[in-house]
Subunit: 215 residues, 2 copies
């Protein structure tokens, strides 16, 4: 099915190994939903900076948040940037060093962030952020105050100019190497949650069991 950004822009057209690329909005949205983090690149005072932040998605936009006073957030509304999200899915072990690789899904987005204005809009958006990380938790929390909302900036970036590149599957060795006597295959990798560490002063002692839907 054709989607609005199913074709690349001049900037997002993947040149190296283009067979690993897609520009499909739904596939791009799925990677943003699965990624806890984004790396944001922007130019400021003569240097390029790359800063990691938490990230979530609503519709066709990617969202970030932080302090109103943050350099990152102030610089982003003033200029174009590039946001990259990468999920490492495995280590690909070939018969030759040269054909080793990684399995991954990554998205590169270009554009300019815009401010999410107003207490109500920020409230709804931060609720969506919490919903990504721990569905259902928001209503159990001490309610967010206006003071907290005022100290917080929420920004969003359109996913319209974005590319997805992904590798999956086993090693691709040269024909003449197939019988080389070394183990070849994939070591799958994923972000996993360990046993919850209850805060010593937590009144509720039993951690809710929330399956990890991202990472």
């Amino acid at each position: 099915m054709a989607t609005p950004n199913a074709a690349p822009s001049e900037r997002t057209r993947v040149r190296r190994l283009p067979e690993r690329a897609t520009y499909d909005a739904e596939a791009i949205a799925a990677v943003v939903d699965a990624a806890p983090l984004a790396h944001i690149g922007f130019a400021h005072e003569g240097s390029v900076h790359v800063i990691p932040t938490a990230v979530w998605r609503e519709g066709g936009h990617l969202y970030i948040h932080g302090a109103k006073a943050s350099r990152l957030l102030k610089a982003l509304v003033a200029s174009e940037c590039c946001v990259t999200l990468s999920l490492l899915d495995g280590l690909v072990m070939a018969r030759s060093a040269f054909h080793h690789s990684m399995n991954y899904r990554s998205v590169v987005v270009y554009g300019r962030f815009e401010t999410v204005d107003g207490t109500a809009a920020k409230f709804r958006s931060l609720q969506a952020f919490m919903e990504k990380l721990s569905p259902g938790r928001w209503n159990a929390l001490r309610p967010v105050s206006d003071k907290e909302l005022n100290a917080t900036t929420v920004l969003r970036l359109s996913l319209a100019e974005a590319s997805l590149k992904a590798r999956s599957g086993g090693p691709k060795d040269d024909d003449e190497d197939m019988a080389w006597p070394v183990w070849a295959g994939v070591l799958p990798l994923s972000l996993q949650a360990g046993a919850p560490q209850t805060d010593p002063q937590s009144v509720v002692r039993e951690a809710p069991s929330v399956p990890l839907r991202w990472g």
Copy 2:
């Protein structure tokens, strides 16, 4: 113990939550060793780009590799860049939404990559890369050819101008919220290896058990 870059430069001085920062070379090296990936930010043809790549360390330098023809690698030797490595260690669940956070270790490096020249130097360096990912594997592989080395560019970046920012530990809630009846604590997160997937044509069927020393 004082190390060469134990003090920040004007660019690397962490301003937001500076108590989470350090500039110690050994601590920075440990994060590079633990990180499978880096996100590289550079300006090229009027845009900032952020590209993910595998990364390893030798002494005071961080290394990357790729195709000789790659835009990324060609652009990097021509200008300054910013390289960021982030390890997500946990989700910090507070009693209020506002005090939720993530535990992490991240390094931001500024500088300019230089080319690792010569077949022998590239060979040694790619061997060090393999040693990070799968210790001892290099000698079992079909040997690297000169043709492969010629098609490959290896670049390195000094870690001299770098900062490390890290958060660990439980939620820091406001005093008046401590008895709020919601679970508070940390959900630890880490990159884990799953069961090895042996290639259907692998002559060796038993995967070597290599503990994950990074990720």
